[in-house]
């Protein structure tokens, strides 16, 4: 007889592990399924470490903070930063729920410090927990709670019976076997879809399988055109590509480095003459990308960031006040001394915005329900929490609160909706789609398609968009879908760690992600936050809508629903 879990959690980052812990606490048997290794994959490890919490919530759990910083102010900052595109019900549940989650982390003995300042927030608001410490603590807590794990398992299809999700099918990368895992309730916590963009800060494996599986199972994707770009990331050399070190040594830390185009113009003056480089990250990203789009960029497709007007002392003394950079310029896994030396010699550094965080994703309500029976979602795989731009630290708050809600809801759901017969209607089809690239003997190597897709996303769905580029993207994507996707073939028959096969499955996910984003972006004809239309730089003063994408027959279709403003009215 097939083993049936009460709750299956897809993804082993913070959102997934918190969900797994809470489902287990509620008495469910829980399996965490992870594409890589739990504790060594996902975006949590790479997090800057912020967890936003209102000052009053910190005071309520006995920490020293600004008590006048209320949950209402936290909600308001989040919604203003998101250009009012947030689902305010989600924001409300985050700002009111995060204090209790922080208390739990303190009880678990996690290392943290209280923030003094937090960019974009109207107060210090929140704590700092390094991404590595967060991931390590949650891995241990989930293990101690009795959660089980299945690693190196690339989930590709949700198993369904009569419209409800009854498990997941995927590829065991260690053995090459295509397996089905059955559960009464499933939580998606697979993270963002950033690796479909060529220049990115996030890990390799965030390719959007969760978003794809959800929409194919009948869920709705929301605001998929909203990709947060982090400005001032390195474009070269290859070993440093995508690193956000210049952003940290510059604007993020309040250091007044100057952004210039190839004519030496400080182009931020055209966008925000007061804050200049210290403007919000969506604006700095849009401004930098606009320079490149209009032909004023640097050789590697970026712009210049310069510290030359500052005395070297400011750079020399920087590490003393930095949480992440050591005195000898060790940062993350790198020795940044050569770059710093170059900066001190007066050279500018080429930087560009990198895909950083998926603001759009699976549509959920404040109960983490997707609307598909047996399917819940939490964390970066979901959409609309952050609207059109995310404040620093809000992803940390989101994963903890939504993770708890999703885990508890899934445990209750698993109790209420137990089906004796877990046989899926789509078992054979799901297996066939997953096996297809392996069984095809000759065709296109998957990495070639992967490259073309990420270049397509970069061109059509970068920080600045135009109707022309979006339409070109749509045509190219349709061509690739009809003519190349069905031709994907693995060049090796090896079952173990067959990267061609994994790449082919990631390509399948990429199509849903990119197509949804193109549909959303083409339909949103005005500029807002992370979605900057070069052909229409003005914001829309009319009805503000969410882009929704769902399956209609055999095709993805876009529709809209007006944004509601239950807590903070739109001015």
């Amino acid at each position: 007889m097939t083993e049936v879990w009460d709750v299956i959690v897809l993804g082993g980052g913070a959102a997934g592990l918190v969900a797994a812990f809470h489902a287990r606490q509620a008495g469910a048997s829980v399996l965490v399924v992870n594409k890589g290794l739990v504790g060594r994959s996902g975006a949590t490890i790479t997090s800057g470490g912020g967890v936003s919490i209102a000052g009053e919530s910190l005071v309520a759990i006995g920490l020293q903070a600004d008590a006048s910083d209320t949950e209402e102010r936290f909600l308001q900052d989040t919604v203003i930063a998101g250009s009012f595109l947030n689902d305010q019900q989600l924001v409300e549940s985050m700002v009111t729920g995060i204090g209790a989650e922080m208390q739990r982390l303190i009880d678990w003995g996690i290392k943290f410090s209280v923030n003094r300042r937090a960019p974009g927030h109207s107060s210090g608001r929140g704590v700092h927990i390094s991404g590595i410490d967060m991931q390590r603590a949650l891995t241990r807590i989930a293990q101690q709670a009795g959660v089980s794990f299945r690693e190196d398992f690339q989930s590709t299809q949700l198993l369904r019976r009569e419209g409800a999700v009854v498990g997941v099918l995927g590829l065991d990368r260690r053995t090459g076997s295509v397996d089905s895992i059955h559960g009464h309730s499933t939580v998606l916590a697979t993270g963002g879809a950033t690796s479909n963009w060529s220049l990115r800060t996030a890990p390799e494996e965030l390719s959007g399988e969760g978003q794809r599986m959800a929409v194919e199972a009948g869920a709705t994707l929301i605001d998929m055109e909203m990709m947060q770009f982090l400005p001032c990331c390195l474009t070269a050399p290859a070993i440093w590509r995508g690193l956000q070190f210049p952003w940290i040594l510059g604007p993020q830390s309040g250091v007044h480095a100057w952004l210039m185009n190839r004519f030496g113009e400080r182009f931020m003056a055209r966008w925000d003459p007061v804050r200049m480089e210290l403007a919000t990250r969506d604006m700095v990203s849009a401004a930098s990308a606009t320079e490149v789009h209009e032909g004023r960029g640097s050789p590697n497709g970026g712009v210049y960031l310069s510290w030359k007007h500052l005395p070297n002392d400011i750079i020399d003394n920087f590490p003393a006040t930095s949480r992440s950079i050591s005195a000898d310029w060790q940062w993350e896994g790198f020795d940044m001394t050569p770059l710093v030396e170059r900066i001190k010699q007066g050279y500018a550094i080429e930087v560009a915005p990198a895909a950083h965080f998926s603001l759009g994703g699976v549509r959920v309500d404040a109960g983490a329900a997707t609307g598909v029976p047996g399917l819940f979602a939490c964390g970066e795989v979901t959409g609309a929490m952050h609207g059109a731009n995310r404040l620093s630290g809000n992803a940390g708050a989101q994963v903890l609160v939504q993770g708890r809600i999703a885990g508890q809801a899934a445990a209750v759901d698993a109790q209420q909706r137990r089906a004796a017969d877990r046989w899926a209607d789509n078992q054979d089809e799901a297996a066939a789609v997953t096996l297809a690239p392996f069984e095809r003997q000759a065709g296109v190597a998957p990495f070639e398609l992967k490259e073309r897709l990420s270049q397509l996303a970069e061109r059509a769905l970068g920080p600045v968009r135009t109707a022309t580029a979006l339409e070109e993207g749509r045509i190219v994507l349709a061509d690739l879908k009809n003519n190349v996707l069905p031709q994907l073939a693995c060049r090796t028959r090896d079952l173990m760690w067959n990267r061609d096969w994994s790449d082919a499955l990631e390509c399948q996910a990429a199509f849903s992600v990119i197509e949804s984003a193109l549909l959303g972006a083409a339909g949103r004809e005005h500029s807002i936050g992370a979605h900057q239309r070069h052909d229409n730089k003005h914001a829309d003063s009319g009805v503000l809508s969410h882009s929704l994408v769902s399956f209609d027959g055999n095709a993805l279709r876009r529709h809209t629903t007006p944004v509601t403003f239950p807590f903070v009215a739109r001015p």
Binding site: G42, F149, A236, F334
Partner: protein
């Protein structure tokens, strides 16, 4: 650019030398391999020379430690080490090797037959 690989395949260690062509024009955005990481080279080698080649890669910035390998005799993170001619790349620990350069680094895998010993063996020392 010559890479000497020692790969764990079908239960034994095998040697494989790969001569990478000059990177200009390969779409990697570099004109010298010295500006690329070992991970980038392995990725390129899998794509062009050796479709079977197994390697692990996640964060690309030295945080997740998934890409730990023995490079020129020392266990390092492949994503943070720059290439040089004649570089030697091996599994971090032959006893933990699974496939090619991929080794067992699971923090949560249950191995009842080996008990508590597993936890200490999994802790691969790194120089970073």
């Amino acid at each position: 650019m010559l890479m000497h690989l020692t790969l764990f395949r079908d239960g034994e260690l095998r040697q494989l030398d790969i001569q990478l062509p000059p990177p200009a024009g390969l779409g990697l955005g570099i004109d010298r391999w010295e500006g690329a990481s070992v991970s980038t080279a392995l990725q390129y080698a899998q794509r062009v020379f050796e479709p079977n080649l197994g390697y692990s890669l996640s964060c690309r910035r030295g945080l997740c430690r998934l890409c730990a390998m023995r490079i020129d005799g020392e266990v390092k993170l492949a994503c943070t080490v720059a290439l040089h001619d004649g570089i030697r790349i091996e599994p971090a620990k032959p006893k933990l090797a699974l496939h090619d350069t991929v080794v067992e680094l699971s923090l949560v895998r249950v191995k009842p037959e080996r008990g508590a010993k597993v936890a200490t063996e999994n802790r691969i020392p790194t120089t970073t």
